[in-house]
Each structure stands twice: as structure tokens, then as C-alpha cells.
Symmetry: C2
Subunit: 310 residues, 2 copies
DNA sequence: GTCTGTTACGGCGCACGTAACAATT
DNA sequence: AATTGTTACGTGCGCCGTAACAGAC
């Protein structure tokens, strides 16, 4: 029995389906099925009533209920132990210094670090924003300990792990009256607000357009702004439509003036990575933050949608 | 993180050394080292102060203390969950029927079943003793659900797992005045009490003697009895020396009239196996008993020596 | 010599991904 | 058509064993 299995089980329950849990945990559906099967074999009882096809959430059996409470308690104990053990020996608590690129820095990091601080009040977390080109260099120079960016780093000497799926979505003012998925043809005619071409997001957008036979020049670009939040506010004010990271929306979800508009055939996938120097070992705080970010607790409520594409 | 690792860690602590834990858990020393290394890497802290060579027990670090309490609690919770889940669904509790050969039946099973009943008062356990030749057949015929024997079964259709190391040891009356390890030459002259040649233990003894160039005919056999307890009582009464399963001694450890006498170069290793039909699935009680027997809790206090040879 | 724990190396099983499928909405 | 869960199959990593080693009694 592994704690990962407990985590998996708890995730399936809170997600309501194997598939959603798989997306959240970066696992394929078949892996979920297989893992749950071995778990049930190990326990000797069926734990979940599957509901293939039907959109109803999976329901735990009687044994599954017992197991669920056990799993949640064991996971909480585990996190408590990890925290206690880490804090026990690392007597002079070094602060966790985090470097981040603008996009995750304006959406993900605020949520993540706030939740982390709530659960670890004795630790200090410092966040500083850099442009993507500088991030890896400054990380290697030791200016900070952990990096968060949407670009996969090339440098060796840096190890990284994917921990968040954060695609670009098209947002439009509600009063524009768009409904349902629109076609690429319709997209071309909409007034588009974009960021400066130097950033990672714009590069991804252009690539995605190219894949479906479009270029930025063919679009009806009406405005160019400098940051994600600028796109968001411009769209909110009704100036046009624009692409932003989905996480940015979730972090500002009280906004009722805008809506997400799917575009047929156009998908701008994007992952967020956490980086650290290969050479430097974890300090206690670093380890806790890393584990916390990889986990799913902090995503709940704010980023409660499925966090990864298939 | 796996519960097996927690179990390993707890076992190392209670045993006091890697090697002893390895013997108890049927693992090699290098595996213990490796497993503990990955555990410590996972936790991010050194958990045990090693004491190579020195006979002092290994000591947990500060982090190790925290981890130990976590491990013990988690394991207890796990067992509780397993028990609750098993009992939840198996409404009509079928009794666990166990068949056993004479030797383990007179030493191991009484201890094991008593402890098991204490922890699972709602379950009923029925033990019946058979000769080795009948055990497998009756198991396959469904006369009982689990078998316990010192002979490795050949039949297919039966799956088994080794769960106890129970070598033969030479016992002698204290008043005989033997001390320290004796030689094979000295053994040949001692008055020896043996069992009937049909049993598994005698076969093992003869094999072991053959390996060091001796045969039973060369020994000074003064008495032949029919069971293990008969050997024990005869030796206790001072009639001679004899070989008995070590577990039998442990189960009767208040006996101060006899002593164990090591014999140089002579080792009669012997394992005890638990059997079940391959086809039949576990019932709840079966599963609990199987898991309990494989575990180490019931061995403490009574069988507190190392339970497995290298 | 006997016990401890470590390192190096090889094999085998387990866990995961991909692909193709069935079933429900 | 889209989604959910299942089965079949290939692959890579991790666990464990064996062997050889170093250090403390």
C-alpha cells in the first residue's frame, strides 16, 4: 500500500470520476483504472461503484467510505509528519526564495503562496518576478531557490517538474453576445487584443494559430498591451476579445462581465513548471513548498476545474 | 511512500539493527540499507544513526523519533482500516478453518491464534492438526481454508508463502553441564532422543547430518518418541539431548531445566509456510488472518529472537 | 573470526503510457 | 459526437538478491 494510492483514491472521490482524477494527477485513464484495481485487490473489497458513460459521479461502497476516511486521515498525518520532520532539524529556517515569470506570477503564485503561508505560518516565502530569459540564469546564480515558469528550461544543471496545466483561453465581453464554440473563421473577424510578441504566451498563441493554418497578421488585432492583467481588463471594458491563461480567470472569478469562448480546432496548451538547481539540495522549506505545489490541496476552490488536458 | 517502508522502519527500531530487521522481514541486509536510504531521501532527513560493527542498537535521530511515532500510528490505522473494511461487507462471518501439521501446531499456532483472537474477538478460528501427507490433499478438498506446515508444498493449485523461520536446535538438560558450542565429535557421543523417522523434522535432521558427513546410524540414539513435546519432556527429565523446533522452546520458555547447545558446523534450517488454494478467493477472516500471520506483532515477547536465518 | 552496514551489479516485476474498445448521454 | 471506464500490450524504473568490501568487537 502506497500513500500515492490513498491520494489517488481521495482525488477520484473529490473529482467524481476516474478521468478527472487522471487529468488532475497527470495520469492516464487506464492507469487510474489499473491502480484502483490493485488497490481494491489489496484491500480485498470493492471500493467504488463505477458509472461508465453516465455523467453521475462515482460513489464509494460501504467499504469505500471507511477507506476514504482512513485515506484522508493518513494523508493528513503524512503531511503533518513531513512538516514536523522538516522543521525539526532545519533549525535556522532559511526563507524560500522563488523566482517567477510574469504570467504565473500574476495568477498562480498569489494563490499558491497564500495557501502555503496559511498552512506553514513559521516559514517565510519570498516571490520575485523576472522575465523568462533571465529566470534560468538567476536561478543558476543562486539568486533564488525555486523557479516557476511556463517555459520548459533547456539548461542542464536545472531540474524541473510539470505541476500545472494552464492553457490559454479566449475571453470576450459578455455584452458581445457570443455563444457556444465559435469557428476559426469567426475568430478572424473579432477585434483581438494581444500582448507584446516577446513573451512566451504570444509565442504559444502564434504556434497554435500556425497549426491550424493561420498567422497573427490575418487576425483583426485592435490593441496591444503589456501584460496578462491588461488583456483581462481591456476585455472587461469591452475593447475586444483576447487570450489569457485560464488560471488568471480563476483567480479573478468574480468577474461577470466576461466569458470564456471555446474556439473549434484551436487549443493552446501550456504547462507550468517548477525549477530548481540540480546541484543544490533541498532545504526544509524548499522541500515543503515543492511538495505542496505538486499536491492538489491548494488548487481546490480556486482552481477547481480539471487541471490538466488529456 | 509505502506502508511497507513504515513497517520496515518500525521493525529496524524494535530489532535494533538492520540485519536483524532483514532476517525478520525476509529481506537481505543490502535491501534494508537501500530501502532506508530511499526512505530518508523521501523524507529529506537522516532518520537513523547507524552503528556498524558496534553491537549497540541503532538510534533514531530527532527526525527519526517523529517519524517513528508517525509510522506506528499509520500502521495501526492501516490495520484498523483493513479490519473494519473486511468486517463491514462480509456480513455472515465465516469461521477461519486452519489445518496444521503437528510441529507448528504444537508451538506456533497456539501463540498465533491466541493473539489473533485477542485482536479480533468477533472472528472464530478453528485449528485442526493433520499429518503432513494429508494436509495438502485436505486443503484442496476444501476441508479447511488455510494450511500451516514446515514442508514446501509441491501441488499446483496451492499457493503458499514463507512466514516463519523455525530451525531445529539441540537442547540438553542443564545438569548435563554442557557449555558453549560443541563439536560434531562430541555430539556423536551424547545420548540422543529422536522422533519417529516419518516426520518432516527427522528428514531435515538426517539431511543436515549427511551434509556434514554423518548419518543417524553413527549417532548414540538412546530413545525414540512420537512427538516434539515428547522430546522436550524427555530432555527435561534428563534422559538425553534432542533436536526440537526453536519455536517450541520459546512457547515453553519457563523451562529452566534445559538449555540450547549450539553445534559447530551443524545447522538445521527450516521454514514454516502458510498455504491456501489458488482458486478460492479470500474471505474476510482468511485475509485478516493471513495478513496477521505475515506481520510481526504477534511474534513479539514470545518469539522475540530473530525469526529468520540469513 | 563474527558481527555490523555499505557499494556495485543484474534480473524481474510493477506502474505507466498508448491504442483500441464498449457503453451511456 | 463526447465522455467514461475497460482491456491488451510494450517499456522503463525501482526493488530486491548476490557478491565483494570495510570497520568494530
Amino acid at each position: 500500500m502506497r500513500f500515492e494510492q490513498l491520494h489517488l483514491f481521495a482525488t477520484i472521490l473529490s473529482c467524481g470520476s476516474f478521468a478527472a482524477a487522471g487529468r488532475l494527477l497527470h495520469l492516464s485513464q487506464p492507469s487510474i483504472t489499473a491502480s484502483l484495481n490493485v488497490l481494491e485487490a489489496e484491500v480485498g473489497q470493492r471500493l467504488l461503484e463505477r458509472t461508465p458513460g453516465q455523467r453521475r459521479p462515482v460513489r464509494p461502497t460501504a467499504a469505500g467510505e471507511i477507506f476514504a476516511t482512513f485515506a484522508r486521515k493518513a494523508l493528513a498525518d503524512y503531511r503533518g509528519m513531513l512538516s514536523a520532520v522538516t522543521l525539526s532539524s532545519d533549525a535556522p529556517q532559511t526563507p524560500v526564495r522563488i523566482g517567477v515569470t510574469p504570467t504565473p506570477g500574476s495568477s498562480l503564485l498569489p494563490v499558491l503562496t497564500n495557501k502555503f503561508r496559511e498552512e506553514n505560518p513559521t516559514l517565510t516565502v519570498q516571490v520575485k518576478t523576472f522575465r523568462g530569459t533571465e529566470l534560468a540564469r538567476r536561478l543558476k546564480e543562486g539568486e533564488f531557490d525555486l523557479g516557476v515558469t511556463g517555459t520548459r528550461p533547456q539548461d542542464d544543471g536545472i531540474v524541473f517538474e510539470r505541476f500545472f496545466y494552464d492553457p490559454l483561453v479566449l475571453i470576450a465581453p459578455v455584452r458581445m453576445g457570443l455563444s457556444g464554440p465559435i469557428t476559426l473563421r469567426e475568430l478572424k473577424r473579432l477585434p483581438l487584443i494581444v500582448r507584446d510578441a516577446s513573451g512566451n504566451l504570444m509565442r504559444l498563441l502564434i504556434q497554435a494559430l500556425n497549426r491550424v493554418g493561420l498567422s497573427l497578421a490575418q487576425m483583426n488585432v485592435v490593441m496591444q498591451v503589456s501584460g496578462n492583467n491588461d488583456v483581462l481588463s481591456s476585455v472587461t471594458l469591452g475593447a475586444g476579445v483576447g487570450f489569457v491563461a485560464r488560471s488568471l480567470l480563476a483567480a479573478n472569478r468574480e468577474n461577470h462581465d466576461i466569458m470564456v469562448v471555446p474556439v473549434r480546432r484551436l487549443q493552446v496548451a501550456r504547462y507550468v513548471y517548477m525549477l530548481r538547481r540540480e546541484s543544490s539540495s533541498f532545504t526544509g522549506g524548499m522541500r515543503l513548498f515543492w511538495e505542496y505545489a505538486m499536491g492538489t490541496e491548494w488548487r481546490e476552490h480556486v482552481f477547481s476545474y480539471n487541471t490538466m488536458m488529456l
